[in-house]
Symmetry: C2
DNA sequence: TAGATTGTTAATCGATTAACAATC
DNA sequence: TAGATTGTTAATCGATTAACAATC
């Protein structure tokens, strides 16, 4: 039975990792998997995996393990990946282009549904079949197309303003590639993926 | 005085964030900053910031705060950003191209010094002024150019093999954009930055 | 039944925050 | 001196891991 404790961010970050491995097993027609096997493949403690999953329900069978198809379905439900989730991308520079072309990868019901950029030279052009729109169309488009998440790939100085416009338009989750901290109301989730800080913290561990 | 406890990963991940804000203050010719001011701007608890910094030494002055220039220098030392750090990029697809063009951004003594890809159609071509080399030159090039870190932007099925070749060549830190878990010896640090899992965990928080 | 593996409790470990003496 | 702010200790909070009864 699903419990209603508050779920830790660490658990939510691991679920997509589990899902990815389980999808891989599905493709290979594996029907059952144990926490031990998952842990070995994903470098996660098996007790951790069992505990994570038990947070949401009794998905396994004692002595047997987890049914792969069933677990995939359950995790997709938990992550709300059952209906298509539409994503806006703001910033059609090199990185924006690259991520737009990821649409093929973003199976599992995620889709980049709109691209915004204020560069007049880019307006009207298309990236991966999606037209580039000016930012003044952001609010309307997000409402019309029921876009729920956004990716920011604008330069750092523009990121906070874009963030403000996105949250104004009702976006509740942002993946920020701009190398700057951005702030929003507490009910807006912000994940960071910028290359620079990632590399800099890696540097700490050298020699 | 620098203490020799073991430093938690959380601290190391925050240092680049502090550094970024401090650089911003430098540009604005601010000479002194308090943990309170930093905390307010970065959404981090001021006690956290003081504790993080105190791990490495007594950098502040009671009643005054931190000298911006001095703190920048100290954090750069801690993160080993004093000498140029060379980075290899493996996978010259759209994302690889985008990141290569980040070289301008990666000031602070980071530089992409080599690009590898096995697509025969790409060999010999250049990205952002850097020639694309075949993977069989990876080990030699990494040794010659004293490359210390690597970014993986190859498709998921190739990522583990690339990781193996990189660690074989002595790389100790990897930033992985491929949507798959990769494994390496414990002395190799792997950071993940793939778009899919980031977006999927954001989806959890919707509605 | 014997072996395997879950779900869960208890123990451990680690990270964050509050509070305050020291001191600029 | 009065006000501000650090560095650090103690308290709190949260996350991970070990262990094992339940049970397939």
């Amino acid at each position: 039975m699903a419990k209603h404790e508050k779920i830790s961010e660490a658990v939510v970050r691991r679920l997509p990792i589990y899902l990815r491995y389980l999808s891989y097993l599905q493709q290979n027609e594996v029907t059952t998997v144990s926490s031990q096997q998952m842990g070995k493949n994903l470098d996660v403690n098996p007790a951790q995996i069992r505990k994570d999953l038990a947070t949401f329900g009794d998905f396994g069978k004692k002595g047997i393990g987890y049914d792969v198809n069933y677990l995939v379905e359950k995790i997709r439900q938990i992550l709300k990946l059952t209906d298509e989730i539409r994503v806006a991308l703001v910033g059609a520079g090199h990185l924006g282009h690259a991520i737009s072309n990821y649409n093929a990868y973003l199976k599992d019901n995620m889709r980049i549904a709109a691209i915004f950029d204020n560069d007049p030279g880019k307006l009207g052009k298309e990236v991966a079949g999606i037209p580039i729109q000016p930012l003044n169309e952001l609010a309307d488009t997000i409402a019309q197309r029921q876009i729920k998440l956004a990716i920011i790939t604008v330069p750092a100085p523009a990121a906070q303003s874009v963030c403000d416009q996105l949250t104004q338009a009702g976006i509740k989750g942002i993946l920020n590639f701009a190398p700057t901290t951005i702030r929003a109301k507490k009910d807006v989730r912000i994940h960071y993926a910028d290359v620079t800080s990632n590399l800099q913290s890696l540097a700490y561990y050298l020699t």
